[in-house]
């Protein structure tokens, strides 16, 4: 483990950005968002960003290919730009876990080469939490907010920042900035971890469990009458899906440029009325069915196909952003019964 003084963190950023694009949470007028680091840009003090960092690997919209026509010739162009290495600093434990969930979708066969390219070029520097919010429930899914494991793990105390390399590429990056740091023991980090663990126990959602859910529970929950009540006020907007770090559905469409076609993909939302619309029509005609899909996917279908791993990381963004304040916690409490609290 190594550490640098907090006041020298900007020097670390400067050094990293010499060899790669560096992104980090920056405070805006209304909370933090990931921005590119350049001189003068300061790391946000907010707990987390408005939007999740999934854009770095799975952007909201991206061109896949272009078809250019000239007479009877059609040229197919790979529109991918050459990928530069990039570093994302300050990723919280919940969001670090979300990459594992996205990996399971995009890196399993057939591998999504667009996503894989970005994963290969990206380095995650995680940041441990010290002041979780009332809307945090990562521990429900077995995530330790105090010890996230990015390519490099990072802990911030009042005067120092501690670094520990995990993956090969993380360790390599850490070497390049080691001149700005000194070797140290993990005493301060261990102290912080146990302090955070105490706070986690006191969070309002500390006792929320996902035990009632998981693979094989489709029959148990699919026809639960509670879905109608839970989805009653749902607007059918895409806010929850678009701020969610694990929502991974997308649509592929063609854009007519007049001289050809650009094929692009963009995030889709199971809340939208045209979600999975096919030639025969739509498979989920009511908002209740679409609403159910979102939560069944995270709590039942995903774990069923992924060794019990849930499709939610408890970041709490949907709790903060839903216009009608409906969210996965309310769903879990309602469907799981009172004993779920």
């Amino acid at each position: 483990m190594r550490k640098c003084e907090l006041k020298n963190l900007d020097l670390v950023f400067e050094k990293i950005s010499e060899s790669a694009l560096l992104y980090l949470p920056v405070e805006g007028e209304n909370g933090a968002d990931y921005k590119k680091w350049e001189k003068g840009v300061k790391l946000s003090k907010s707990l987390n960003t408005n939007k999740s960092p999934k854009d770095f690997f799975f952007p909201q919209s991206e061109d896949l290919m272009e078809f250019k026509t000239s007479g009877k010739e059609i040229e197919v162009v790979d529109t991918r730009n050459s990928k530069e290495d990039f570093v994302v600093f300050g990723v919280r434990a919940c969001d670090v876990k979300s990459f594992e969930i996205l990996d399971r979708v995009f890196l399993s066969e057939p591998c999504d080469s667009y996503y894989a390219d970005r994963r290969q070029h990206g380095i995650i520097i995680s940041m441990a939490c010290t002041r979780p919010s009332e809307t945090c429930f990562c521990q429900t899914f077995g995530i330790d907010a105090a010890s996230p494991v990015g390519d490099i793990s990072c802990w911030k105390t009042e005067d120092s920042v501690y670094f520990d390399g995990n993956s090969e590429k993380g360790k390599k990056l850490l070497e390049t900035i080691s001149s700005l740091m000194e070797e140290c023991d993990s005493k301060a980090v261990e102290e912080q971890k146990s302090k955070t663990a105490e706070i986690m126990k006191k969070l309002p959602l500390a006792n929320l469990t996902a035990d009632k859910f998981g693979g094989g529970k489709t029959e148990e929950f699919f026809n639960d009458p509670a879905w109608a009540e839970l989805s009653q006020a749902c607007l059918g907007c895409g806010t929850c899906t678009f701020v969610c770090p694990t929502c991974q559905c997308y649509d592929i469409k063609d854009y007519n440029t007049g001289k050809g076609v650009i094929r692009f993909r963009c995030w889709d939302s199971c809340m939208y009325s045209d979600f999975t619309k096919m030639a025969h029509g739509n498979s989920r005609n009511s908002q209740t069915e679409r609403f159910r899909q979102r939560f069944m996917h995270k709590l039942v279908y995903f774990p069923e196909n992924n060794e019990g791993i849930f499709g939610c990381v408890g970041c709490g963004r949907c709790m903060n952003k839903c216009p009608i304040s409906m969210n996965i916690v309310k769903v879990m409490k309602k469907l799981g019964g009172k004993t779920n609290e």
């Binding site: 009332e134 678009f242 963009c266 939302s269 216009p323």
Partner: protein
């Protein structure tokens, strides 16, 4: 802050359910915390007593829900409407979006609603409870104990520019009806008008580029009740969810503003729900201000059945060429 309490509304709801005036109640349902309140339909007194709540976070405008709810059953539904909600209610009636006979409206006074994000900015994360104490808001926090803040400092932006405390539609009122207010709601529009064209373009460019196409502004908007929005029609050639083209992002919001011009009551729900905090209401307010200036003062939803200037021809109407000239002047 609110003078009306949950208990008073619960009593009213139970009375009306029990004497069979209504068979359902559209109201606010408690959440995990003080501030995460969800609109809900209650069908018996027991559930009202267990989960109905009214506090400083009951900002949701219920009028639009009536379109869906009144179509479900023949009986009357009770709805509690705050003054600004009653304008949307009237506007929907004007547009024949639901049957008035199927609704029982109880108008309630509103002292302005709290914006939890403003509270979070002041006291930080970890808010486990919020209560009101006179003109103060007491925020119970995980890290700093109880923090007392002035209610005005956490008042929602739209409530700071409240246009009316008067319920303009109701079957009965709780408490006394308020008055229309001389509000400062056009100040911000004026500020934008005073910008140069380039500055104004840059302002909207920067705001609208934050849009994530979640469509929450449209979905919450009481003036957006088309059964199928053009942006949801895959055959329309426009895109409802991709952010690939910044032109289209702007077009979505500008088209929407045009579509609700003259019908928007300025309830402010669009900006309240925007997860990216884009001040969308300013687009609509610009239209309201222009309509006021070109055709005389007009408040959508003030009177049910009123003919809006844009759909009503009078010989006094401003000539289109003069409107353009005036627009150019005010934007100069």
């Amino acid at each position: 802050m609110q003078k009306i309490t949950s208990e008073m509304l619960i009593q009213k709801a139970c009375d009306l359910l029990e004497n069979k005036t209504v068979n359902r109640v559209l109201g606010w349902k408690t959440g995990e915390f003080a501030y995460d309140i969800t609109p809900a339909v209650f069908s018996d007194c027991e559930s009202v007593k267990a989960e109905f709540v009214f506090n400083d976070f009951c900002g949701a405008n219920f009028s639009k829900y009536l379109v869906k709810e009144t179509a479900k059953s023949d009986g009357k539904i009770l709805v509690f409407l705050k003054p600004c909600d009653t304008y949307s209610f009237n506007q929907l009636l004007t547009e024949h979006r639901f049957n008035r006979d199927n609704v029982y409206v109880v108008g309630i006074p509103c002292e302005g609603m709290v914006d939890i994000n403003k509270a979070k900015k002041i006291v930080g994360d970890g808010i486990v409870g919020v209560s009101s104490k006179g003109d103060d808001i007491v925020v119970e926090t995980l890290y700093d104990g109880d923090v007392t803040v002035d209610a005005k400092s956490v008042l929602a932006e739209r409530c700071m520019a409240c246009k009316s405390k008067k319920c303009v539609a109701y079957d009965e009122l709780m408490g006394e009806n308020g008055e229309v207010i001389e509000s400062n709601r056009f100040d911000e529009v004026q500020r934008l008008e005073n910008m140069t064209e380039d500055e104004r373009f840059a302002f909207w460019q920067s705001e609208l580029s934050k849009c994530i196409r979640c469509n929450a502004c449209r979905d919450i908007c009481p003036a957006c009740t088309c059964e199928k929005c053009v942006f949801d029609n895959p055959n329309s050639g426009v895109e409802n969810k991709a952010v690939s083209d910044s032109f289209e992002e702007k077009m979505f919001h500008v088209i929407r503003a045009f579509h609700v011009a003259g019908r928007c009551t300025d309830c402010g729900e669009c900006s309240r729900v925007c997860p990216q905090n884009i001040p969308l209401h300013l687009l609509n307010r610009k239209f309201i201000k222009d309509i006021n200036e070109f055709y005389g003062e007009y408040q959508a939803g003030e009177v049910a059945g009123s003919r809006a200037p844009l759909v009503d021809y009078t010989t006094d109407d401003i000539e289109a060429s003069d409107a353009v000239k005036k627009g150019d002047e005010s934007n100069a």
